[in-house]
């Protein structure tokens, strides 16, 4: 049991990852096909994981229904919607007109609404961020104001703002972002190395 839980995932990870990494560096006949196939298997594994996720939703909401917890109505809605989407998806396929109608008429408007509310959240975040509490917040506020002033009617009143904003965007901002990207990329590679070699087992519930 311990082998299945601890050693086997490390062995599988090592073999799969070394195959993919090797394909990046070395040109061996057939290796590319195997590597691409392994990457494609990721989709199959994610599908299995989805079953676990659905199991989690069903278990959670059934418990709420059985215990008559507050807002149990939403649990009925969740489970009902889940059942409808699965049944229609299986019977009509996800390309079918009924499934597409459900998707376009229910999920898409709800997601668009959710995304649209971001405007209010950003406004609230901006209000909190722009309260000048220290020197960093002051720099942030001045930069943000200059960035906002570079467009629209303000730019015609203050013609220097687009140039200043462009300088902020192209020089300090790009330099900062690139520093973050380089550091992060190396950390990602380092982390990948530890996982591939089995030195890092955090995802298996262990440490290093």
């Amino acid at each position: 049991m311990q082998f299945l839980k601890n050693q086997l995932p490390v062995v599988v990870t090592f073999v799969a990852a070394v195959t993919i990494v090797l394909n990046f560096y070395v040109d061996i006949p057939g290796l590319e096909t195997v590597s691409n196939e392994l990457v494609r298997w990721n989709v199959v594994l994610a599908a299995f994981a989805l079953i676990l996720g659905i199991g989690n939703i069903i278990k959670l909401h059934l418990k709420k229904i059985v215990r008559h917890e507050p807002d149990v109505f939403y649990s009925y809605v969740t489970l009902g919607t889940l059942a409808v989407f699965i049944i229609v998806g299986v019977v009509d396929t996800t390309e079918g007109s009924t499934y597409q109608w459900l998707w376009d008429s229910i999920l898409l408007p709800l997601e668009s609404t959710m995304y649209a509310t971001t405007m209010f959240f950003i406004t609230s975040a901006a209000y909190r961020a722009f309260r000048v509490k220290n020197a960093y917040a002051a720099v942030l506020m001045v930069s943000a104001i200059l960035m906002m002033l570079r467009v629209g009617i303000f730019a015609s009143f203050m013609p220097f703002t687009p140039d200043v904003a462009a300088w902020i965007w192209d020089i300090p901002n790009t330099a900062g972002m690139r520093a973050v990207v380089v550091g992060t990329a190396l950390s990602l590679a380092g982390n990948a190395f530890r996982i591939i070699t089995g030195l890092e087992r955090g995802h298996l519930g262990g440490g290093t």
Binding site: N56, E111, F121, S124, A125, V180, S187, N191, G202, H203
Partner: protein, 252 residues
């Protein structure tokens, strides 16, 4: 069979990484000496959990909605740390999860944290909530209804970072977030008490538990980053003076 063109420099970096990693981890094993810059975010996680315990409220955790990548691996180390503190101080932790593959891994990490704290019976798997790809509305609802006292968001964050952080701000929650997605950094910087910028998320694990593997890895990453910065400066100067020799060398 032969080496692919354009991968030579990558291979060189990889070999250099492995060499520095082996040297640094074996040196740490021998001497036990390490310097890791203290990351404020790690303290803030503890502070957030402490405050939640005092207020008798839960803490909330989210990985964001981005596809599974190495950022999640860094997040697992921080989750393990936070879960151990929660288990130790009897603080409830609610997790909003968008990706199904994160559910079993998260379950394993939290179960282990409770076992190590000697409280395996207090582990409640119902607090690990798989909400699917469109998890943002449910996440905001959870944060608001449960009146969380601390909110932690680590992983591949997208626009849910703004939603989660602002929803938790309404509860006056202590917030710590970290991501390598540069497009979300301004939002978490604006809303959180402390943040981990990109590589800091990975370094945090070394600060929490400095094992030879983690110390070696962080040391190697730091040195290669420094080398890259030097190469960028040299490359910029060379290009300015009309030479692309370094670029051609890197493309070998």
């Amino acid at each position: 069979m032969g080496f692919k063109t354009g991968s030579g420099f990558h291979l060189l970096v990889l070999i250099a990484y492995i060499a520095i990693f082996v040297y640094a981890s074996s040196r740490f094993r021998r001497t036990g000496e390490v310097y890791v810059r203290e990351l404020e975010g790690v303290k803030k996680i503890e502070e957030g959990i402490g405050r939640a315990v005092e207020m008798g409220r839960p803490v909330h955790w989210s990985y964001g909605t981005g596809a599974f990548d190495a950022q999640h691996m860094a997040a697992f180390s921080l989750l393990s740390y936070a879960a151990k503190l929660c288990a130790q101080y009897d603080c409830r932790m609610i997790l909003s999860i968008a990706l199904p593959e994160l559910v079993p891994m998260t379950d394993e990490i939290i179960r282990k944290a409770y076992s190590e704290a000697g409280k395996p019976n207090q582990y409640n798997p119902d607090d690990i909530r798989f909400l699917g790809g469109s998890h943002n509305a449910a996440m905001i609802g959870t944060i608001a209804r449960e009146k969380v006292a601390a909110n932690f968001m680590f992983g591949s964050l997208f626009y849910e970072s703004v939603l989660g952080v602002e929803a938790a701000a309404m509860n006056n929650a202590i917030q710590v977030a970290g991501t390598a997605n540069t497009h979300q950094l301004p939002f978490i910087a604006a809303g959180c008490d402390s943040i981990f910028i990109g590589a800091e998320m990975f370094a945090a694990a070394t600060q929490i538990e400095p094992t030879p593997v983690r110390v070696g890895s962080t040391y190697a990453e730091d040195w290669i980053t420094r080398t890259m910065v030097v190469l960028m400066i040299i490359g910029s100067l060379m290009v300015t003076f009309g030479s692309d020799a370094l670029i051609r060398l890197m493309k070998l």
